[in-house]
């Protein structure tokens, strides 16, 4: 598929991941990190508080988050810059007090204009959102 613009990977636990560069808008050099793709997370990014603090990504607001069990929690959030596939975008970063994982949410893909294809055989594949219909059309035309 010539439309593929990037690939992710699976971590040792089998999570689909992307490698991205996280920074606080030029305040620090930032850090390259692996982030787990979470399709149940609708915002941009979750970062553990300690990592955010070390990169000087400061909490700037509170916000309510709806959880899968129907409850709501109040979390701190700020803004960070993420560089991925040679593009840099600003996005909202949630910083739960006890979070251990870096999570990429669906807003991340929307912000970078990407669609995600995950399969065991093809791996973690990224295509431009605007070309997704072409990709499916081509796939449906291929013999099984």
């Amino acid at each position: 598929m010539t439309e593929v613009v990037g690939r992710g990977h699976y971590d040792q636990q089998g999570n689909a991941c992307l490698t991205l560069h996280l920074s606080a808008g030029g305040v620090t050099q930032g850090r390259t990190v692996d982030a787990i793709i979470d399709t149940g997370f609708t915002e941009f990014l979750q970062v553990p508080r300690e990592l955010a603090s070390s990169l000087r990504i400061e909490p700037q607001t509170t916000l309510s988050v709806a959880l899968g069990d129907g409850s709501n929690v109040v979390l701190p959030a700020g803004i960070a810059d993420v560089t991925f596939l040679d593009a840099t975008r600003s996005g909202l970063v949630l910083m739960p007090p006890r979070a251990a994982s870096i999570l990429v949410g669906m807003k991340f893909l929307e912000t970078f204009g990407l669609a995600l294809l995950i399969s065991r055989s093809l791996g973690v594949t990224l295509v431009p959102e605007g070309l997704l219909s072409d990709v499916f059309e081509r796939m449906s035309g291929q013999p099984e």
Partner: protein, 91 residues
């Protein structure tokens, strides 16, 4: 605001205080108008004086708030929704 100290975004108790204070102000002054005029947009409310900053995205609204009120104590609301976003769970 009844608290003598400035609420901290590093304290769990203060996070809830900021959110509850902002939601009360929003319900009282803004909800009816904003749900009619700015559906699905984002508003950041400064609980110090009740001022608001509306934007089409979460980043736009928060950046506007920080530019206009660098010392603000903010809570973000997605207009017409009970939460800004969804997560499966929090660690």
């Amino acid at each position: 605001m009844t608290q003598a100290h400035s609420p901290s975004l590093h304290s769990a108790a203060d996070l809830r205080f900021i959110a509850d204070t902002a939601e009360a102000i929003y319900d009282d002054r803004y909800r009816e108008e904003y749900e009619r005029v700015y559906p699905a947009q984002f508003v950041v409310l400064d609980i110090r004086d009740g001022s608001t900053y509306v934007g089409p995205s979460s980043v736009d609204a928060l950046q506007l708030a920080k530019d206009r009120a660098p010392e603000g104590v903010f809570h973000m609301i997605r207009i017409g929704f009970s939460s800004v976003c969804r997560m499966t769970h929090v660690d």
